[in-house]
């Protein structure tokens, strides 16, 4: 039996929205427990770090370009550049390195 595409979309979107919505709506009180507060303080850094490495190296077609972009992005971020600047520096690095590699 062929399942209607819109039924698939409804289930996908519904499950994804509930996962995002329930904790936000259910937990409205300020948490006072020190461990939980500390835990929540570190969560964003842990999440973002785990999402960035090693994924950033593997994202472009060429892994070499990915490694160089990671390095350049790290330097730009270390110097305190803005979100958009670091993002564009990383993209430009991949573009340039992949062009250079194509010449070899």
């Amino acid at each position: 039996m062929q399942i209607n595409i819109y039924l698939y979309i409804l289930v996908m979107a519904g499950v994804t929205y509930l996962i995002r919505m329930l904790p936000l709506v259910a937990i409205r009180k300020e948490i006072t427990n020190r461990f939980v507060k500390s835990f929540l303080y570190y969560v964003p850094y842990a999440c973002l770090s785990a999402m960035t490495f090693p994924a950033m190296m593997l994202a472009p077609d060429s892994k070499i370009a990915g490694v160089v972009a990671l390095f350049v992005g790290f330097l730009a971020a270390f110097k305190g550049k803005s979100l958009i600047t670091v993002a564009l520096c990383s993209c430009a690095t991949v573009f340039v390195v992949e062009r250079l590699l194509a010449l070899l």
Binding site: L22, P23, Y45, A46, M56
Partner: protein
């Protein structure tokens, strides 16, 4: 204030939209060439706004899987959002209006969570709305154009755009890691653990959504035990 927060959100949403464009372009291309119609494909991006979940869902749709299968897959891959929403539940300044939480929840992607979690102190829902107002069109337009143009845009451009979101993450995590020893340790430990999950035999079978959950739980939990945050410190350092 609403306007200022909204504008700042839009500004920070630009690199997100760029990164989204590249990823959703690929999604649109794959879905349409796989046989899902153009408009249903665009509707998936408009209603789901999530990358890994959509790609996994697309596989199931193309294979003619069951609705249970697709529901369970979304649950597993996207469960990390509940952790992010839990974290954001403490940070959002809804002014007592619960309705804001329903709207903010829709845009709780890795990237929008990343920029709003890094704001100092409480975050206005209008900041999230600003970011969503730029990021969502980037995601949907990328899908549409990818579906229509297919292979016309040179791969070299999409390849470069793929790293935009990661560059942005670096800009969020590196400055506080520079300032604070505990954050530095969290960043390094999380990256090492994620790399182990990626490269080690057997562990590399774990889906990327679960890897993020495991890393976040283990590393943040340990860090909270070793370096508990002082009262008021989180405000100051959340910048």
């Amino acid at each position: 204030m609403k306007r200022k927060n909204f504008m700042q959100g839009m500004k920070d949403g630009i690199p997100i939209a760029l990164g989204y464009f590249a990823v959703s372009f690929t999604f649109g291309m794959m879905a349409v060439s796989g046989g899902v119609g153009l408009w249903p494909t665009v509707l998936i991006s408009l209603t789901n706004l999530t990358s890994a979940g959509q790609f996994a869902g697309l596989d199931i749709i193309l294979a003619g899987g069951s609705l249970w299968e697709i529901a369970l897959t979304q649950l597993v891959i996207n469960l990390r959002y509940s952790l992010m929403s839990f974290s954001m539940s403490q940070k959002i300044a809804d002014g007592g209006r619960i309705i804001h939480r329903f709207f903010v929840a829709f845009g709780m992607t890795d990237e929008i969570y990343g920029i709003s979690a890094s704001r100092e102190g409480k975050v206005s829902p209008y900041y999230n709305y600003g970011a969503i107002s730029v990021a969502l069109p980037g995601w949907v337009l990328g899908t549409l154009i990818g579906g229509v143009l297919g292979n016309v845009l040179p791969g070299i451009v999409t390849s470069a755009l793929n790293v935009a979101i990661y560059g942005m993450f670096l800009a969020i995590i590196i400055p506080p890691a520079k300032e604070k020893f505990s954050v530095r340790m969290v960043v390094v430990a999380s990256m090492i653990l994620a790399a182990i999950f990626h490269y080690a035999p057997y562990l590399s079978q774990v889906s990327s959504g679960f890897v993020i959950i495991i890393v976040a739980l283990v590393v943040s939990g340990l860090a909270a035990l070793i370096w508990p945050v002082e009262e008021g410190e989180e405000r100051k350092d959340a910048d």
